[in-house]
């Protein structure tokens, strides 16, 4: 329906371009409709996609909708055995991929592969005129990263996804000159919502298959990009690149949205200075909530940056307030709803919130609330501040310690480039605080100095009992630090 509306109203507009190739909305619809009959008629349970960002990603996404088959984009960075296991779970399935991906896989039974390039060939046969009207059917299945257990498959239904798009985007709102640069991968909820939002806004999408800051900046200039979404590490790398290779100005660039992880305050402060004419928006959302549930708007950023009031200035570190269609609650461990300023667990409710996993069913409570597993609190005006994941909390002698506040203290030290704080087992306390620290090039300090630094700023229970210096911290490709890896490395030192 989204693509039909865009193609009906603005068929000749460029929908998506990548590496010199492009599709108009009419061409995108034709390609998606042409692919749909084979997908719908082949007895497939899923339409899997295993490739980098490119023109084939939106074609496969919309072909799945026209065929009424759930779309399952897979992470191309996974190992062959991991991918084979996921493919076996979604079989029988259609798999859109590339020869170099397929050549490393032993496809499980029931997987029929099709090359991404074949989706872009001219229409061979007319597809269905309309996507089937299946509001309650599964639109998208997204596998979580599964660092501790088997990956879970988050289920998003058509009505979840449509509620998000219709609640947050105005149809055809984009001017003809607007272009969005998509650098998040197609298997991430932000990569999917970028395609859907831009289609509904009829904003041209420029795909960057693999993020690299120099290439990102080059495309921003060359394609006259007006809108972009970045995860925090990407913005960090853009800022680092700009410091070494000054570029710009980028007169077309109007809006940068960021989300998908904690943005260091110093980075967003520098970005606001480097791009004074750009609107910054912080978007907080999860896969299970069909993307964004809270927004810190450009106006919020400017107000906070300019305010002499510390309570308002700190909102630069907030993820903002809920969308008009989303409700938010902070609850304590027993489930009681908390007031402003009281830290607890973040719950959200709204038609876009799925909270459902394949095989586990809906995890919404009886009133429709979803426990995000994020910790946080809201200020007097409803701005949400996040404080890590529920299971990252360090419980030391019955006291809950948030890794975030200790990390922030460590990052304030002149010699510290990066730091992560985790729990290690402790006979005395149950758990104790440990820090892995990366020093800036050419800088030196030692564990005692850092412990003293933290002691001067936080309660003594927050002082890391162990400080380990490392050359770099483990991050996943979306810029999330892998706490579990750090935890097991720190714990191994005991052995």
């Amino acid at each position: 329906m989204l693509l039909d509306m865009a193609a009906d109203a603005c068929g000749e507009r460029i929908a998506v371009s990548c590496a010199g190739q492009q599709l108009t909305y009419a061409e995108l619809r034709r390609a998606a409709r042409a692919a749909a009959p084979a997908l719908a008629g082949g007895g497939f349970a899923h339409a899997a996609f295993l490739d980098t960002n490119g023109l084939a990603a939106p074609v496969a996404l919309f072909a799945a909708a026209y065929a009424g088959v759930p779309y399952v984009p897979l992470n191309y960075r996974l190992t062959a055995p991991e991918l084979e296991e996921l493919l076996a779970r979604v079989a029988p399935a259609w798999l859109v991929s590339q020869p170099q991906q397929l050549s490393r896989l032993k496809l499980p039974a029931g997987i029929v592969s099709i090359e991404a390039a074949a989706l872009l060939a001219p229409a061979r046969e007319p597809g269905p005129a309309e996507a089937p009207d299946l509001p309650g059917a599964v639109a998208i299945l997204l596998f979580t990263s599964g660092t501790t257990a088997k990956p879970k498959a988050a289920v998003l239904r058509h009505d979840n996804v449509m509620s998000y798009i219709l609640g947050s985007v105005e149809f055809g709102a984009a001017g003809e000159e607007e272009a969005a640069l998509v650098s998040v991968p197609p298997y991430h909820i932000a990569g999917i919502s970028a395609v859907l939002s831009s289609t509904y806004a009829t904003r041209r999408i420029v795909m960057l298959p693999s993020f690299e800051p120099g290439e990102w900046l080059r495309l921003v200039a060359q394609e006259r990009i007006t809108h972009a979404f970045l995860v925090p590490t990407m913005l960090v790398r853009v800022m680092e690149h700009l410091a070494l290779h000054p570029a710009g100005p980028f007169p077309a660039l109007r809006a940068i949205a960021y989300g998908g992880g904690k943005m260091p305050l110093a980075v967003i402060g520098r970005a606001l200075e480097a791009f004074p004419n750009v609107d910054f928006t912080n978007a907080y959302g999860l896969t299970e909530t069909s993307a964004t549930v809270c927004l810190l708007t450009p106006e919020d950023h400017r107000t906070a940056a300019a305010s002499p009031d510390a309570a308002i200035r700190r909102r630069l570190g907030s993820v903002g307030r809920p969308l008009p269609t989303v409700e938010l609650q902070i609850r304590d461990a027993a489930g009681a709803v908390l007031g402003a300023q009281e830290p607890g667990f973040v719950y959200v409710r709204g038609p876009q919130v799925s909270g459902e996993y394949r095989g586990l069913g809906s995890l919404l409570d009886a009133q429709g609330w979803f426990a995000t597993q994020d910790r946080g609190w809201v200020d007097a005006e409803g701005y949400l501040f996040l404080d890590g994941r529920a299971d990252d909390v360090i419980v030391r002698g019955g006291e809950n310690i948030s890794p975030g506040e200790v990390e922030e203290a460590l990052l304030g030290h002149a010699a510290v480039a990066d730091a992560v704080v985790v729990a290690i087992p402790s006979e005395q306390w149950g758990e104790a605080v440990a820090a892995a620290v990366v020093l800036k090039a050419g800088m030196r300090t030692d564990a005692q100095a850092l412990q003293q630094w933290v002691r001067e700023r936080l309660r003594s229970s927050r002082v890391p009992e162990r400080v380990r210096f490392v050359s770099e911290l483990p991050y996943n490709e979306m810029g999330k630090v892998l706490r579990r890896v750090v935890r097991s490395e720190m714990a191994d030192e005991d052995a």
Binding site: M1, D4, M5, D8, A9, D133, P135, D159, L166, S168, V169, E170, F171, G172, A173, A180, A190, S193, A194, S197, A201, R203, H227, F229, A255, A257, G259, D279, T281, A283, G285, A291, T292, L295, T297, P298, L323, P324, P351
Partner: protein, 103 residues
């Protein structure tokens, strides 16, 4: 008359207009376009149905149409020549919300 549930899609009997219910109080209502009751997506148009000139201000793709209370909201998914009413009262175009792009 039909129960107007969110997600319900209807098409005009006399023009290209199609709508989807976005928000509703869950009550019954008579949705008309161009002066005639709107049809289910699979229904055939009655023979000889014509656009009533009194209901021919047109509908615009992508616009949200609301009743006086804004409790009922329809999204126009295909524009057409007929204008949309519920229980005899013409719907009006809702002002676009200004949310910043977040993805």
């Amino acid at each position: 008359m039909r129960v107007l549930k969110p997600g319900l899609r209807l098409k005009s009997a006399v023009c290209a207009t199609e709508v989807m219910v976005i928000r509703s109080p869950g009550t019954e209502g008579l949705v008309t376009c161009g002066g005639l009751e709107m049809l289910g997506m699979g229904d055939a148009a009655p023979a000889g149905a014509t656009l009533d000139p009194a209901h021919a201000q047109g509908s615009l793709i992508g616009k949200r149409y609301v009743d006086a209370t804004e409790a009922l909201e329809l999204l126009c998914t295909k524009g057409g020549a007929g204008s949309i009413s519920v229980d005899g009262a013409p719907l009006s175009i809702k002002q676009a919300k200004a949310l910043p792009s977040s993805d």
